[in-house]
Amino acid sequence: MSAVAIQGVWKYFGDYPALKDISFDVEAGSCLALLGRNGAGKTTLLRILAGLSRSSKGEITILGKDARAEDTRRAVSVLGHGIGVYEELSAFENLRLFGRLYGLENPSQIAVEWLERTGLGRVRDGLVREFSRGMRQRLAVARAFLHNPSLLILDEPFTALDDRAIKMLQDLLRAALADGRTVIMSTHQLREALELATDVALINRGKLAFRGPRTQEMLEDPTWLYRHYGEA
């Protein structure tokens, strides 16, 4: 069974179609790199997959269920453009909060574990408002991984990460994939994403322009896809 099944999805903003008849599947355990120019519709699609917005037409099945179902949301992790952590809470409090919201057994313990894993152990009680940018991003990553999601939806996760954070995220993603989890990420950082990707999809002006496995050719020449399937 596919982890994600997208069937005939359209999204209208008024009369304007942001997504036109998108259909594809994502196999469990695969890593899909979602490419496309700005304004192509990547974020719109990811938001629908994340259950943050509804499609105008079409069906989406995530892990066999509706995107908004509680079970689905518990097994899915979303990392968008914003870091999704609270400025006035400490790193520990943030993770513990999300641990509770995701129904984890030992939110405090798991929070501490993930602080260690993302290198934030020493600042566990520091307020996020005092954190540097790099530290915030690590915390965001910790929040995304903490509840052991079966599906990770990441919207341009490598943007504005420094090199150490990029490596940390790549390692975490590799470990997750090795564990049989599924990853969908949209990206402009072609190199970092294509290294991890098993599959690739290209969205062009709201339509699916390409869907297939990631080839060696794509890895060696990251703009290959755009040249062949994207607009001029």
Partner: protein
């Protein structure tokens, strides 16, 4: 098709109104205690009754939008609310005119006029909110919810102000006065309710047509800007 409906309703409304005006001003005698000003009631009452029910109809239209996500129901709801707002304003103004003539005051905090005023405020907020949202489905969604809250609240407001005024009696702008109206005087009232309903339907249809043209322009604009 819609144009034909609009014309049909307008003609019927116009004709009926003209005939009613003739009856009201020429045929019906002056009312016993209040005199000529009582005729304002023939406009005040239909406006009040029709606008009030229109708000509830609009609420249902909004709920149907939430169920079907068809923007036409939102367009209908907005148009109905706009017309209802206008006629609620007419209710208020005719009530004020009557109050001025009979009681010598433009305003009195009696239950009905106060409730209508609050209703107008709530729907003014409704229109302001609609103007602040560009995306049509979001606008439709939030409008539908707001309309439900407003309609429920109108009922509560009405009752609570009545209770308030029973405890703090003030001048009661009860236009109807005593027991009822003499038989011959009631008929034009109901005819005018009918006339108002037809007029409102015509106006609603016109508004809906304007809205669909407007939304087409907006989407064309969006399309043009995307490239």
């Amino acid at each position: 098709m819609r144009t034909k409906l609009i014309i049909l309703f307008s003609v019927l409304a116009g004709g009926l109104l003209a005939w009613n005006l003739h009856t009201i001003f020429l045929k019906v005698p002056d009312e016993a205690s209040q005199g000529a000003i009582f005729r304002v009631f023939y406009f005040h009452f239909p406006a009040a009754v029709t606008s009030f029910s229109c708000f509830f109809v609009a609420m249902f239209s909004g709920l149907i939008y939430l169920r079907t996500r068809n923007l036409r129901y939102d367009a209908a709801a907005a148009a109905i609310n706009e017309v209802a707002f206008t006629f609620a304003l007419i209710t208020l103004i005719t009530g004020m005119i009557w109050g001025r003539i009979i009681w010598g005051i433009w305003w009195a905090w009696d239950p009905r006029i106060t409730s209508y005023f609050i209703c107008l405020l709530m729907y003014f907020g409704y229109f302001m909110m609609r103007r602040a949202i560009d995306e049509p489905h979001r606008r439709a969604r939030l409008s539908a919810v707001l309309a439900v809250l407003a309609s429920v609240d109108i009922v509560i407001v009405w009752k609570s102000i009545e209770w308030f005024r029973t405890q703090h009696p003030g001048p009661v702008l009860e236009i109807r006065g005593g027991g009822g109206m003499a038989p011959g005087m009631e008929a034009p009232l109901f005819w005018n309710v009918l006339a108002f309903l037809m007029l409102e339907t015509a106006l609603i249809l016109v508004r809906m047509r304007q809205q669909s043209i407007q939304s087409e322009i907006e989407s064309l604009r969006r399309y043009a800007h995307a490239f």
